[in-house]
Amino acid sequence: MRVALACPYAWEAPGGVQVHVRALAEHLSRRGHETLVLAPGTGPSEPGVVLVGTPVRLRYGGTVAPVCFSPRSALRVRGALRAFAPHVVHAHEPFSPSTGLFAALLSPAPVVATFHAYAERSGLYTAAAPLLRPLWRRLRVRLAVSQTAAAFVTARFGPGVRVVPNGVDVDRFRAAAPPVGGRRLLWVNRLDPQKGFGVALEAFVRLARDLPDLELVVVGDGRDRRLLGGLPAHVRARVDLRGAVPHEALPAHFAGASAFVAPALGQESFGMVLVEAMAAGVPVVASDIPGYREVVRDGVDGLLVPPADPEALAAAVRRVLEEPGLAERLRAGGRARAEEFRWEAVVERVEGAYREALEPPRG
């Protein structure tokens, strides 16, 4: 089958949707499908990827999305789709003003759509809903990466969305080495207020007082990096800032971690990093918010704590570090849970959606 995958965000920029589309294309071609990725971007082009135009940074919902909505990019999307003549067009975030929207609108083939995002509220989305309704009807099969993401869409457009979770390359993360030497707390995420970096630091400061061997490993970058510059020098010396890391290089950083912290404050639709940490066998302590709650079941494959509560986060990390048997139990539970998100299984469900889209519409 020939499948065109449209990604709304700049191909070279870090982000969950890009990681998802890249891995999906890879797994589809492994199963013998022919794929073409359309995405904003300017970098050197890769085989099987068409970059449709220069991304612009659109500020929305507390983050900045590198999208591309120029008429030229629309023309390039149309041209590429005509030349490729796909059986199915798989548009990601078809309601973002970018490549996913153009691909869905201009597709010569049946359209499958995947919704990734979740926000507590979105006035713009609600306001635009009537305009987007014709497009909504055009989407032959609608997928969402989580219940949370699905609920966000169905609240505005009505039912008809199925959950096919994000996939994770479990084997790449499996190989991570178990903890050796001193105990390490791991952070992998953007350093944004929304991700709760301040909560993690505050919890670490509390833990560092009592646990002299504890270190904090920080993978990621963002404006909250400056919070590190305000730490007392002796605490700062125990933070290993590794900066932003390309997704391919990520698994190595999970090695040797004793616990993973993800105290995001909200606006998470899935929590891919949680699954990656679980696949790597690192016990997860995450905030109890909609997207994370779907991935981590408290006490089974990780611990959930109230968001924006450093004290609770520190206490939960301490439990993982000190309560006999807990870390091992969470490690095993996490690994088992991660298997449910294995790409090999997820991609079969996506294929099912493609087949369904190709069936003649009923009625």
Partner: protein
């Protein structure tokens, strides 16, 4: 019976600041580093609880920088660290006087000195604009030890003894000091130093006149002095920004590439544009180490917005 008048209290306060400065200088020049750092730490611990008003000022500044409310524990911690580093600054700045050049070299690491060298090859001097970060005296001293001729400006501090102590201190570090006193056009003196290919180092993150250039830093308006931009535009000297950070074993200094100086014909606009570029560099420097920013006056008017 009338009590002592305000004049007497003023004189006593002056006397206190003179004596404590002299004591700090005396100790700084004599205590070996481990002892001096311990003493600074001890001083910090004893004096910190008593400095409520100043703490509130620093916390408001850092709240803006860190993007969190002043009461946030991370802001409070950064405030404490800021006072600790400031105490360390006082020991270290006087300790520089008795440090061997080899030790200064070992402790002071510089990145970007080639920008100064390249600028000086043109023979028009170079303007270095610095924020109050880490230890600016150490930067001046290091440059002097390496054969650069460095000119700096001294504020007209009161009382006179304090002014003189700093004047002599910075002269002893090798700096050429131009006092900011009425009747002298400092800009002319500095232009003349630049013509002699000096490095003119200006600490420029605080506008004392109220007539500085409006810039935005960390999302809020404030003013920066226009002096560095004016001087560079008037003389054709390149302008670089520079920052010093306190490191565990000394200092780390970063000199940025020269800023682009545009001449549109409208001097006021050119000064404003160049000063905004300085603000952007300063913002980056401060964000890298907020607690190392020795800013003990309100840096912004009003409260942070969140």
């Amino acid at each position: 019976m009338p009590g002592p008048g305000p004049e007497l209290w003023g004189q006593l306060a002056d006397l206190r600041s003179v004596l404590s400065l002299r004591a700090t200088q005396w100790l700084g020049m004599r205590l070996p580093r481990p002892v001096g750092l311990r003493a600074a730490e001890l001083y910090h611990r004893l004096s910190y609880p008593a400095s409520r008003a100043q703490r509130a000022v620093v916390a408001r500044n850092l709240a803006r920088v860190l993007g969190r409310p002043p009461g946030d524990p991370l802001v409070q911690r950064a405030t404490r660290e800021c006072f600790r580093l400031y105490a360390q600054y006082w020991y270290e700045t006087f300790a520089l006087r008795t440090m061997t050049p080899e030790e200064v070299d070992r402790r002071f690491r510089v990145q970007g000195i080639e920008h100064v060298d390249r600028a000086l090859e043109e023979g028009k001097g170079v303007v270095l604009a610095l924020p109050h970060m880490g230890n600016w005296d150490a930067a001046g001293h290091w440059l002097c030890l390496h054969g650069y001729r460095v000119t700096a400006v001294a504020e007209a501090l009161r009382p006179r003894e304090v002014f003189e102590l700093f004047y002599r201190h910075r002269r002893a570090l090798g700096l050429d000091i131009v006092p900011l006193v009425p009747g002298v056009r400092v800009s002319d003196v500095l232009a003349e130093r630049l013509a002699r290919n000096h490095v003119v180092a200006l600490v420029a993150d605080r506008d004392l006149t109220g007539r500085g250039v409006a810039v935005e830093m960390f999302g809020a308006p404030r003013r920066l002095p226009s002096g560095p931009a004016r001087l560079a535009l008037a003389t054709g000297a390149p302008l670089s920004t520079c920052s010093v950070y306190t490191a565990p074993d000394g200092w780390r200094c970063v000199i940025a590439p020269p800023l682009e100086v545009e001449r549109s014909g409208d001097l006021r606009e050119d000064v404003a544009r160049l000063t905004r570029s300085i603000a952007r560099d300063f913002e980056r420097f401060i964000a890298a180490a907020p607690a190392d920013w020795h800013m003990f006056q309100p840096a912004w008017d009003g409260e942070p917005s969140r």
